[in-house]
């Protein structure tokens, strides 16, 4: 398969030419994911009001009342995305720590583990706290090492 990239001066446009609609759709989805990951802000909601929140300011996402909430230091927002969609959309320093929580590793202040293997996470400049599950602990620990300690 040939891939050709042309630089244009006009309006940004991505044109996908291929034989099969299925392949084209998959490529378009992947491109969309990459673009979304690159975006610095995301649209969140409080009631009917839209807010444009920096991804780096989000402490964690959690499932509540069958909806997904995004917590920052000051506020709590709603998002239309599901948790599994957010895992693809958010930058790599957002990691799933339980069935219902995704956290921003860069904003973690402390992690404390209980005898049962589960534990709690606190965040910088915030009194908010969330919990991680022991079944996600290994990947969580690996991600912390990767994000915070690798130069």
């Amino acid at each position: 398969m040939k891939i050709r990239i042309e630089e244009t001066d006009g309006e940004e446009e991505i044109l996908i030419k291929c034989r099969s609609m299925d392949i084209g759709t998959k490529i378009a989805q992947k491109v969309n994911e990459i673009i979304n990951k690159e975006q610095v802000e995301m649209t969140l909601y409080i009631g009917a009001t839209e807010y444009y929140v920096r991804k780096d300011d989000i402490l964690f996402f959690e499932t509540q009342d069958n909806k997904i909430c995004a917590h920052t230091v000051e506020r709590m927002y709603r998002t239309e995305y599901k948790l599994f969609e957010l895992e693809d959309l958010m930058p790599s320093y957002f990691v799933r720590v339980s069935k219902s929580v995704i956290v921003n590793i860069k904003l973690i202040e402390s992690v404390s583990r209980e005898l049962t293997g589960n534990g709690s996470i606190t965040f910088k400049k915030s009194n908010k706290c969330t919990y991680f599950s022991r079944s996600y602990y290994k990947q969580f620990k690996d991600k912390i090492r990767e994000v915070r300690f690798v130069k």
């Binding site: 409080i46 917590h71 069935k99 049962t116 534990g119 908010k128």
Partner: protein, 231 residues
């Protein structure tokens, strides 16, 4: 199909079959060997090992109790006790439950994933439940009209978010049994606190007559503690 489930499934079936045969007095192989006891003990031993590896301490305690019940007669013979029934089975289960409660009070386990339930009650309001664990509930005030919180043997903290959007007169129903529920309310709100208390402890640091958006806290507290803390 997990191998562990297949093995345990086969053993459970054997336990049932041997139990029926023994109860009806039919002995297929050797009448001196108590096959239901052996198979039952094997099943419980496998489950006990699995629960220890998964760090499920409370399950392990109950499985130990059931193992004790099955081999009670053998244990009595081993220790040369005069009686074959060392302890009543119901008493044993009661004491194991009391031990579990005591352990959880000293070392509360955070985020018991199995037990945290979120759902919708018949009235249409949303509820959250916490049993034997720690739980943080964040209530979005922009959509808050009614919420139920159930806390049993655990610790629950309730925090209010987006408080500038709160219009007032929302109802928070708290059902607290043998646990501790702390409700952190903005100091400029007024709180109407109408919780039925049975052998428990209630405290409210926010006066009812204060001006500001009103929060109505209702429910019941049995043998536990509910604290309303102004922040």
């Amino acid at each position: 199909m997990k191998i562990k489930n297949v093995i345990i499934g086969i053993l459970v079936i054997l336990f049932g079959v041997f139990g029926i045969l023994e109860a009806s007095g039919i002995h297929l192989i050797d009448s001196s060997v108590a096959y239901p006891q052996i198979v039952g003990g094997l099943i419980l031993a496998i489950l006990l090992i699995c629960s220890i590896f998964k760090k499920r301490f409370y399950t392990s305690l109950y499985l130990l109790a059931f193992l004790f019940m099955i081999f009670e007669r053998n244990i009595a013979q081993f220790f040369e006790l005069n009686k074959t029934n060392i302890i009543n089975n119901w008493l044993l289960l009661l004491f194991v439950t009391v031990i579990c409660i005591g352990i959880n009070m000293i070392i509360p386990s955070n985020y018991s994933k199995i037990i945290r339930i979120t759902g919708t009650s018949k009235s249409g309001s949303v509820s959250e439940s916490n049993t034997f664990g720690g739980h943080m509930a964040y209530i979005d005030c922009s959509e808050f009209t009614e919420k139920h919180i159930h806390n049993r043997f655990g610790e629950t903290e309730i925090h209010f978010e987006n408080t500038e959007e709160y219009v007032g007169n929302a109802v928070l129903t708290v059902d607290n049994v043998f646990g501790e529920t702390r409700i952190f309310v903005p100091s400029d709100w007024s709180v109407s606190f109408d919780v039925k208390n049975i052998f428990g402890d209630l405290s409210n640091s926010i006066p009812t007559a204060q001006y500001g958006p009103r929060l109505i806290i209702e429910g019941q507290n049995k043998f536990g503690e509910i604290d309303v803390i102004g922040v």
